[in-house]
Symmetry: C2
Subunit: 303 residues, 2 copies
Amino acid sequence: MLKDTLLSLAQNPHMREFVVQNRITRGISRRFVAGELLNDAVQATRTLNQAGIQVALDLLGENVADEQEAQFATEQYCQAIDLIPDAGLEANISIKLTALGLDVSPQLCVDNFRVLLTRAQQKNVFVCIDMEGSEYTERTIDMTLRMRKEFENVGTVIQTYLYRSAGDIARLVEQGVRVRLVKGAYKEQQDIAFQEKRDVDQNYANLMKVLLARGNFPAIATHDETLLQEVKRFVGDYGIGKSAFEFQMLYGVRRDLQEKLVKDGYNMRVYVPYGVQWYPYLMRRMAERPANLMFVFSNMLRS
Amino acid sequence: MLKDTLLSLAQNPHMREFVVQNRITRGISRRFVAGELLNDAVQATRTLNQAGIQVALDLLGENVADEQEAQFATEQYCQAIDLIPDAGLEANISIKLTALGLDVSPQLCVDNFRVLLTRAQQKNVFVCIDMEGSEYTERTIDMTLRMRKEFENVGTVIQTYLYRSAGDIARLVEQGVRVRLVKGAYKEQQDIAFQEKRDVDQNYANLMKVLLARGNFPAIATHDETLLQEVKRFVGDYGIGKSAFEFQMLYGVRRDLQEKLVKDGYNMRVYVPYGVQWYPYLMRRMAERPANLMFVFSNMLRS
C-alpha cells in the first residue's frame, strides 16, 4: 500500500517540486544521492575507493523529451567516462536508455549509445544498462545483445520480480553478457510480475545461483542478508572463487554490510547516483525499503 | 553416495540380469511398474481412473540399438494410443526419443515420432517427451519445438537440477508448449547441474511458479510435500484455478498424497510404466528416494 503510494508519488510533479525545493528534503536526499554535480560523485567515489569499495556512477535522469536533452545526457556521461581514468577512480558507469533518447527515437538512442560505448571502450570503462519499467525490458535486452556484438564492455540488469527474467538471464548468459541481478523497484502488474516478496526473493536466490554457476562476472545487487548468506553458502559448496563475481549495493544503504563484505575479501561495488534529477530515484528507494523511509521521517522530525 | 552407486548399477548388465531374473525382485518391481504387458498397464489405468486419477502411460525402454527396435517401440506405442479411446481410458502417453531411435539416426527418430504424433492426434491423445540424461537435453527441446509447429498435442519435461532449465522453460512457454516439471533423476556433473538438494528444490519452486503464472497447463511432477504446499499457496495468492494445471506422481509412490490431492479437487495424473525393460527405471526410483529403497529392502527381507 505504502509502497504503491510512494511509487505513484515518484511520478507526481507537485510532490516532486515540493521535495526538490524544500531545504530539509534536499538535505536528506544527500544520504542516498552523492550530489547534483559530477564533482560531488567524484568526491563520493574517492571516499568509497579508499574504503576498498568500487563504484558504479549513475547520472540521474530518465525519459528525456527531445533529441537535445538526450544529446546533453550523452555528453555528460562522456565527461564522467573521461574522468574515471583521469581522476584515477575505481568506477564504471550505469546508464538508462530513456536518458539517451529511447522514447524520442530508437535510432537516436542507438546513435548516442554507440558514441558513449566507443568512448567507454577507449577508456576501458564498463557500461551497465540499467533496467527500467517493464515497457522497456525487451528493448533493453535487445539493445544489450545488439551492442554486445560490437563492444565487450556492456552489460545489463535483470529484475527478479518479472516472470520473464529466467529466460532473459539464459539469453544473456549464453552471449557472455555481464548481468547485475536486482529484485526490481517499479510497480508491475500480476500478469507479468511476482507480487509477493517471498516469490521475488526466491526467484532472486535461484537466478543468482544460475548466474554464479554459469554467468560472466555477475553482480549480485541486494541488501538482503538472507540472500547474502545464500550466496556465501552457494559459492562455498560449488567452489566458486570470490574473484568471479561482485556484490553491489546502493549509496547510503547498509554501509555496515558494505564494509563487512569488503573486510571478508569480496568484491563490493556501490551504485553512486548524482545529478539534479534525483527525485524519482529517491522515491523508489523509499518505496523499496521501510528503513530508508524511516531515515527520512526521523530526519524531517529532527529538522 | 548411495544415490551414485544406484545410478551406476542402473547401467550394469550383471545387476540387471540378476534383478530381472530373480523372483523376489521381479515381485517387488510390481510396486513401481504396472507389469510387462500393455494389458497390465490398462488394468492399472482402470483402477487409477476409478479413483479419479488420470494416467501417463510409459512403455519402458530407452537407447534402442537399431532401426528395427525403434520401429517396434513405435508400433507398440501406436497400439497403446489406439487403446486409450477404445478402452475408454483417461490417459495420455510419455515417450523417450532414444526409444524411437535418436541414437541410431536423428532422421529415423523424427520419422517414427511423426508417425506416432499423427496417430495420437487422430485419437486426441497428448504425447509428452520424457527428458533423459543431459546429452539429450538440447535435442529433446529442439525436437519438441519442431514438432510443436506441426502438432498441438506434444510437450516435454524440464529437470530443475540443470542450470539451463530456466532458459529452456522460457523458450517452451513462449511457444505455448506444455511442460512437466521434475527435479531430475540422472547423474549430472557440477558444471551443468546443481548438486545440492536445496538448490534443486529452490529451482523447482521457482520454475514451478513461472510455469503456473505463464505456462500452458503445466504438470507439477513431484512428491515433495514442501513443494506441494508452495504450489497451493502460490495459486491461492495469484488466483490461479485448479483447472489450469495438474499434479503428477509416479505409480506406487505416495499413493496417500495422490488420493488426498484428488479429494481436494486437483487434477492428478500418475505416470504408469510398463514393459519388459523396467530395470533402469526401477533403479532410478531407488536412487531418488530412500523410502522407495527401504520398501524394496524390507520386502526382500520378508520374502
